[in-house]
């Protein structure tokens, strides 16, 4: 099994899209490409589990290592552990849903689908990289499509949002770059496996960890670098919002996790700062959401809060919390993509996203309203949905840390869920329930493609929510491997 297929399939899809003519051909190619990708991810899951069951306990499966730039010791080193596989599954589901949701995109459709596929290629490449250079390469590949997608197809103050997003993400990757150079010149390799084996001197870790971690933190909407999130998400077209929140922000979380595993000493030393920032993001995000009147802004700000849990889980540096962070990444990816899809469906019919102008949508479009409610319930952490599993695991992990300040952070973060419930229930109540205006009463419900997209995402949410042991089984061995490095520290605090 060659993981390069994960990059090759989107690449071929993109080329075929360029050669295709007319919306019909383009979207069919896009759909076939993304379904192939989903099938590929499913097959990877199957062979991954089969290999694990057969007793293959290597940290990374399907490894392949090819020299890229020999003189600089840069290798195209790819492989996959359980966490990467979970992210790949997430990506492939969201890509299919995103393509389905954009089924009727008739403005510059060729460019639109091309950029969507290019963005997914960057994400796949990022998750399979075991070489920091390759990782960084794919991280940046995913930035430009976002800029163009928002700037060309977006709504509202789109160019400003696109510019803000691109510049902040670029600044983030500039920080990451400095961090990676620091690692490279003290270990003489970009290879993550080698670096974890040989270790990085503590002084170097302490100097370069902030660069790399904060750099990825920008992607993960870490406070105070979250300001690109609301504008970027709100201005983006539906599929781009789904990709942004569902995939792109996960690049940041995943990167933070890898950096913490590479520099365990620094991660322990700076753990309190990470937790402080994450707690601020969680609470600030939740309260900021309360003030929003635009559905997209509501979901964007709540994403800041939810991604805070990812960082919190990573910052706590224990097995359960990191497990929770990974589940939260997957769960939030699915949930937020579903949310944006529902908002997009509502917006394309009512041409408004303001909560105050909506109402009683359940009567006109029961399917879309149900989707919206499910996304909302998942967001506020109702048991049975993935959000509950993820947040519970993070809290359980966080509570294991006996330090008083850490406990306080955990309590505060936990309390934010109440705020989440307030804004979700309020928005749902106003938009979905109540009387419906005359002009909205005649609107049509979801079409087949929208239904399919929603069902796919809901299926993912329910699988995690009802059978959390499945995803735990997948990621647990990899978290164990990470913990092995994280516990091997020479200094604690």
């Amino acid at each position: 099994m060659n993981l390069t297929l994960l990059i090759l399939v989107p690449f071929i899809t993109a080329v075929l899209i360029l050669l295709a003519r007319g919306l019909q051909q383009i979207r069919v190619i896009g759909l076939i490409g993304s379904l192939t990708q989903l099938g590929l991810a499913g097959w990877l899951l199957k062979s991954f589990l089969a290999a694990r069951a057969a007793g293959n306990n290597a940290a990374h499966l399907f490894e392949s290592n090819q020299t890229w730039f020999k003189a600089l010791n840069i290798n195209y080193h790819i492989g996959m552990d359980g966490i990467a596989l979970a992210m790949i599954l997430l990506t492939s589901v969201i890509v299919v849903a995103g393509i389905l949701v954009s089924w009727t995109m008739d403005k510059l459709s060729k460019e639109y689908f091309f950029l969507l596929v290019l963005l997914s290629m960057g994400a796949y490449g990022f998750f399979i990289s075991l070489d920091l250079f390759t990782l960084f390469f794919f991280l940046e590949v995913a930035v430009i499509p976002k800029f163009l997608l928002i700037g060309i197809w977006g709504s509202g103050d789109k160019t400003k949002s696109a510019m803000k997003l691109a510049l902040m993400l670029m600044a983030g990757s500039a920080l990451v770059m400095v961090g990676l150079f620091g690692i490279y010149y003290n270990t003489h390799t970009f290879d993550m496996v080698q670096i974890t084996q040989q270790g990085i001197p503590v002084g170097v870790q302490k100097f370069f960890f902030p660069f790399a971690f904060l750099g990825f933190g920008v992607f993960a909407a870490l406070f105070p670098f979250h300001t690109w999130v609301p504008d970027g998400h709100a201005s983006a077209p539906t599929a781009a919002s789904m990709f942004l929140a569902g995939i792109s922000m996960k690049l940041g979380g995943y990167g933070c996790l890898r950096i913490a595993a590479l520099m365990p000493d620094a991660a322990h030393a700076y753990s309190w700062i990470i937790i402080l920032l994450a707690t601020i993001a969680i609470i600030y995000g939740a309260f900021a959401t309360m003030m929003q009147t635009d559905l997209k802004y509501i979901n964007a700000y709540s994403s800041i809060s939810h991604c805070g849990f990812v960082i919190l889980g990573i910052g706590m540096l224990n097995k359960t919390s990191i497990n929770g962070a990974v589940i939260q990444m997957v769960s939030h990816g699915l949930m937020t993509a579903l949310f944006f899809a529902a908002i997009g469906m509502i917006y394309s019919r009512t041409h408004t996203r303001m909560v105050a102008q909506l109402g009683g949508l359940l009567k006109a479009m029961p399917f879309i309203s149900t989707v919206f409610v499910i996304a909302g319930l998942c967001s506020l952490g109702l048991p049975g949905f993935s959000g509950f599993v993820a947040e519970m695991t993070v809290f359980m992990g966080s509570w294991q840390n006996p330090d008083g300040a850490y406990r306080l952070a955990t309590i505060l973060s936990g309390a934010s869920i109440v705020v989440t419930a307030v804004y979700i229930l309020r928005a749902t109540g106003r938009a979905i329930m109540g009387p419906i205006s005359a002009e909205h009463a005649l609107l049509a419900d979801a079409t087949w493609n929208e239904k399919l997209a929603a069902v796919l995402l809901i299926a993912g949410i329910l699988v995690i929510g009802l059978a959390p042991f499945l995803i735990n089984h997948l990621i647990m061995p990899s978290t164990d491997a990470i913990m092995l490095h994280l516990d091997k520290v020479t200094l604690i605090k």
Partner: protein, 469 residues
């Protein structure tokens, strides 16, 4: 022996021959511009191909003229750049009455650069440099009817004369302290005494003038704006590249005993150049001025790479120059076609460009992304390798500084992309039919921009022929 000269001097001889043929064509009966242009492009292409065939290491004329695989490759790059410029300016040159003069001037300048790169002696170096500069001043004045063009020529010739004088002063001091002009002997006499250091600083100042490093950059923008686009691209790509090649040769081979001194100078120059270039590029609306200032910032990044003083430093510099040739010329190519056919040269004129000219828009966008250093274009690899070479010295301050400046430069490149794709315009530039020759040149550039980075063979080859301190 004669055979040896023919082989080692083949690139110079070919150019000289071409210049003479053009002189004879000029004397003879009138020919159509198309046939002349096609002939010249064909010869340049053959010369480029011949450059790759055999590269011997050797010296001629008592060490005045050196050649090795690296030098041959550098000349190939310049040749390639001239070929691309020539193809891209097809639309403009076709209408010009003085096609032959344009080529005589640029080819003479290129010949001078070849001698400069190959020089093994300060005198030879100076001769080559002058031979490459003076024709350019005439070429800058090529739009005889435009005031700005002659202003540009005047500024170019005055500032070059000034920098040459400084350079000469430095050379004389060096001669005074060491008693020799030959590179190989000179190295042994460099000991860093104050007069020598002073001479060295004069020399570096002269170089900085030519590559328009801050604080010696002020002539650049006006000259670039006034000159015809073809000359601007020649100035910004070819003459800079040639001087950079020579600079590295000198620093890495001649001034090795005072490496610590020039390391500091380079770092300071690089930081100032990147910062000032970026700050000025932010506010430009004229496309040529914009590219002028952004190219100043690019030179700053190159200086960081050179400061690494390793094999990787030299290799990443040449690699970046190759990428810079492709990406900058792709950008200039689009501007050149648009300017030749519509006369519009401002960034704001490009608003809504994508609606009318999608192909050209993509070429320009890919070029700008490469200049900004965004993957998967080659610019990403180029910039990253330059910074890696610079970081090898352990001076992370300059790397952090450069990384932040990359974000600033990203902003102004994105502004242009925003203009092309996102801004509304009621009267965008109308649909342009690009001449086939120019189209081919643009495709070469785009393919170059994408392949040079992803395919490792290019960097591996360059690395294998370069050398460190």
């Amino acid at each position: 022996m004669t055979y040896n000269i023919l082989i080692q001097l083949r690139q110079e001889l070919a150019l000289a021959l071409l210049i003479f043929i053009l002189l004879f064509i000029k004397l003879g009966k009138d020919r159509s511009n198309e046939s002349i242009l096609n002939f010249i492009n064909a010869v340049l292409f053959i010369n480029l191909a011949a450059g790759f065939c055999c590269h011997e290491t050797g010296a001629l004329f008592n060490g005045m003229f050196n050649t090795n695989a690296l030098i041959v490759f550098e000349k190939d790059l310049l040749n390639l750049a001239l070929l691309i410029i020539s193809m891209q300016s097809y639309a403009w040159l076709k209408e010009s009455k003085n096609v032959i003069e344009f080529y005589i001037l640029t080819l003479t300048s290129l010949l001078g650069m070849f001698f400069m790169i190959s020089s093994g002696n300060l005198l030879m170096f100076y001769l080559g440099l002058e031979m490459s500069t003076i024709p350019l001043a005439a070429a800058a004045n090529f739009d005889l009817t435009k005031r700005k063009s002659s202003e540009a020529a005047m500024k170019l010739i005055l500032s070059s004369a000034f920098s040459s004088a400084i350079l000469l002063l430095g050379i004389s001091f060096l001669y005074g302290t060491s008693g020799t002009l030959t590179f190989s002997i000179l190295t042994a006499h460099i000991n860093g005494n104050p007069l020598q250091l002073f001479a060295f600083i004069l020399l570096i100042a002269g170089f900085a003038f030519k590559i328009s490093a801050v604080p010696f950059h002020l002539w650049t923008a006006d000259v670039y704006e006034g000159s015809p686009v073809a000359v601007t691209s020649f100035l910004s790509v070819i003459s800079k590249a040639a001087v950079l090649f020579t600079l590295v040769n000198m620093l890495y081979q001649v001034f090795t005993p005072i490496a610590n001194t020039w390391y500091l100078i380079l770092v300071v120059l690089a930081a100032a150049t990147i910062l000032i270039g970026n700050l000025f590029a932010l506010r430009q609306d004229n496309f040529k001025r914009f590219l002028a200032f952004s190219s100043i910032a690019q030179v700053g990044f190159i200086l960081i790479g050179i400061s690494g003083s390793s094999q990787a430093g030299s290799a990443s510099m040449i690699y970046f120059v190759l990428i810079y040739i492709f990406s900058n010329l792709a950008a200039f190519g689009v501007v050149s076609v648009v300017s030749a056919l519509t006369g519009k040269e401002n960034i704001s004129d490009f608003k809504g460009f994508y609606k009318t000219n999608p192909m050209l828009s993509w070429v320009l966008t890919i070029a700008l992304f490469s200049l900004a250093g965004v993957p998967p274009t080659a610019g990403f690899f180029g910039k990253l390798f330059l910074m890696m070479a610079g970081a090898a010295k352990g001076n992370y301050g300059i790397i952090i500084f450069a990384a932040l400046n990359m974000v600033v430069s990203f902003y102004y490149y994105l502004k242009v992309v925003k203009c092309i794709f996102m801004d509304e315009n009621t009267s965008p530039i109308e649909k342009i039919t690009v001449p086939t020759v120019s189209k081919i040149a643009m495709y070469i550039c785009v393919v170059g921009v994408i392949v040079t980075g992803l395919a490792n063979v290019v960097y591996d080859y360059i690395n294998s022929i370069s050398f460190g301190l």
